[in-house]
């Protein structure tokens, strides 16, 4: 299977502080990759270094066989991105934001179809800032899907979504994945990771403490539930200290 995302030994520090240590991943076409870790573990930094919005100190990245900085124009025709704090203008409406985003791409999806699919069609004339948290989150996923991407980056995919909306989003993403979409996501919901991700990587203070499948993560831990295993990986040190 084709390797869509390749990051090799990415390093990044802010001053003295090392925030990403030798981050290495490979994501194959049509699979979903989950990047996990506590707040401040370096997930967003990793995504930003991969996308080129932050410059890694060293290491190599290729997405769809292209360099995110030198092939920016060509690469980002095919990449959808949902940032953690989504950025939009004051007073802009849902329809205006979608139309503007769609105008940036040579071949964009019809925003109305996506708004309908994500149940926010009726909000198209509302200002974005008046949407509820969950509606806004769904809008940001819509924006990430507008380019008809081959690969999509979702930073904290389902934050703010209620249980039903979350399941619906998972369903849509799973079916897109079956059609060949490659997904790179970060999440704090272990249920979501189990439902969507083929491979995961757990970060702790910028270091990769686990890399493999969800079931491997459970097997290599003393626990039977993924959430407990995850906590064991991220809090190992504290447990050791308390013993």
């Amino acid at each position: 299977m084709q390797e869509i995302i390749k990051a090799k030994k990415l390093m990044k520090s802010y001053g003295e502080q090392l925030v990403m240590d030798s981050f290495t991943v490979t994501v194959r076409r049509g699979t979903a990759f989950g990047l996990l870790g506590a707040n401040g573990a370096g997930k967003s930094t990793a995504i930003e270094c991969m996308l080129g919005t932050k410059k890694a100190d060293s290491g190599e990245v290729s997405i769809l066989g292209m360099n995110p900085i030198s092939d920016r124009k060509k690469l980002f025709e095919k990449v959808g991105i949902q940032f953690q704090e989504m950025n939009y203008q004051d007073n802009i409406t849902v329809a205006e934001l979608c139309e503007t985003v769609a105008s940036l791409y040579k071949a964009a999806a019809e925003p109305l179809d996506l708004l309908y699919q994500f149940d926010i069609m009726d909000k198209q004339n509302s200002p974005v800032k008046e949407l509820s948290g969950g509606q806004r989150q769904r809008l940001f996923i819509v924006l990430a899907l507008i380019p008809v991407p081959e690969v999509i980056f979702l930073d904290e995919l389902s934050t703010g979504l209620d249980a039903a909306a979350r399941r619906k989003v998972w369903k849509i993403l799973s079916s897109l994945k079956e059609k060949g979409l490659t997904i790179f996501l970060t999440s704090h919901f272990m249920e979501e990771v189990e439902a969507l991700c083929d491979d995961i990587c757990i970060l702790k203070k910028g270091k990769t403490v686990f890399h493999g499948t969800v079931s491997e993560a459970i097997q290599s831990s003393p626990y039977e539930k993924f959430e407990e295993a995850y906590l064991w990986y991220t809090e190992e040190e504290r447990i050791d200290e308390s013993i």
Partner: protein, 247 residues
């Protein structure tokens, strides 16, 4: 082009929705023109002058919109879009992030030209103004003043660390220039000592240029204003190109 058109349409709508540029760049110059027109009417600019006071002030009034857009609007919108991460967001699209800056500059140019047309029509129809200079010279000078003012705005917006500082710098530049450069209060009614002081404001020089162009006065006295404006434009553009921060 599709991206530029759509962005221009959306950003234009957002700017009008904000109302402040409509007030400061379209309404305010018109109000000042009407007040000066009523106060001084067709009175001669000075004894023996062959043009009226209003004709003399037209060049100055036409820069109010340029000043509002370039020194107030532009820096605020750039620093706001940076702090919201909108500039950064464009880095991960196929479009060059500079496009959104070009769109904003275009919007403020449109405000300035709309204001110019509105002022000209009002002055000609209601106050019998005669345009004595060359239209080509005036438009060239107007564009030149605009580029110069916008380069100041680009620099402030490009390097101010946050929206708050950008708005403080913008206010420090905008209000003195608006009041003392002759844009609202005519340079001619200022005491001589004050004139010497306000001569350091770049807009004062720009207004001298436009005044000469609109009245058809000889270009020979305009060397100093032209040099001042070119220096400012080059300096500010160089600083913004070198130090512009996208996030």
């Amino acid at each position: 082009m599709k991206a530029f058109r759509t962005m221009l349409k959306t950003e234009g709508k957002l700017s009008l929705r904000g109302m402040d540029m409509f007030l400061f760049a379209i309404c305010m110059p018109l109000v000042v023109l009407v007040i000066l027109g009523i106060l001084y009417g067709n009175r001669s600019a000075f004894e023996g002058a062959d043009y009226t006071f209003l004709e003399q002030s037209f060049g100055a009034l036409s820069t109010i919109a340029v000043c509002a857009g370039g020194v107030m609007g532009l820096p605020l919108v750039i620093s706001d879009y940076r702090s919201k991460g909108i500039l950064k967001r464009y880095q991960v699209t196929p479009v060059n992030p500079a496009m959104i800056l070009v769109v904003q500059v275009t919007i403020y140019m449109l405000y300035a030209f709309s204001s110019l047309v509105l002022l000209y029509t009002t002055a000609v129809i209601f106050f019998g103004m005669q345009f004595r200079g060359s239209y080509a010279c005036f438009l060239g000078g107007y564009l030149f003043v605009m580029i110069s003012m916008f380069s100041i705005g680009m620099m402030v917006g490009g390097i101010a660390p946050n929206t708050k500082i950008a708005s403080i710098i913008a206010s420090i530049l905008y209000f003195p220039m608006l009041i003392f450069s002759g844009a609202t209060i005519p340079y001619e009614v200022m005491p001589v000592t004050l004139r010497t002081v306000v001569d350091i404001l770049p807009l004062t020089q720009g207004i001298k240029l436009l005044k000469a162009a609109s009245l058809g006065l000889p270009i020979s006295g305009m060397i100093v204003p032209i040099i001042v404006m070119i220096t400012i434009t080059v300096m500010c553009s160089a600083i913004s190109l070198k130090y512009f921060k996208w996030e």
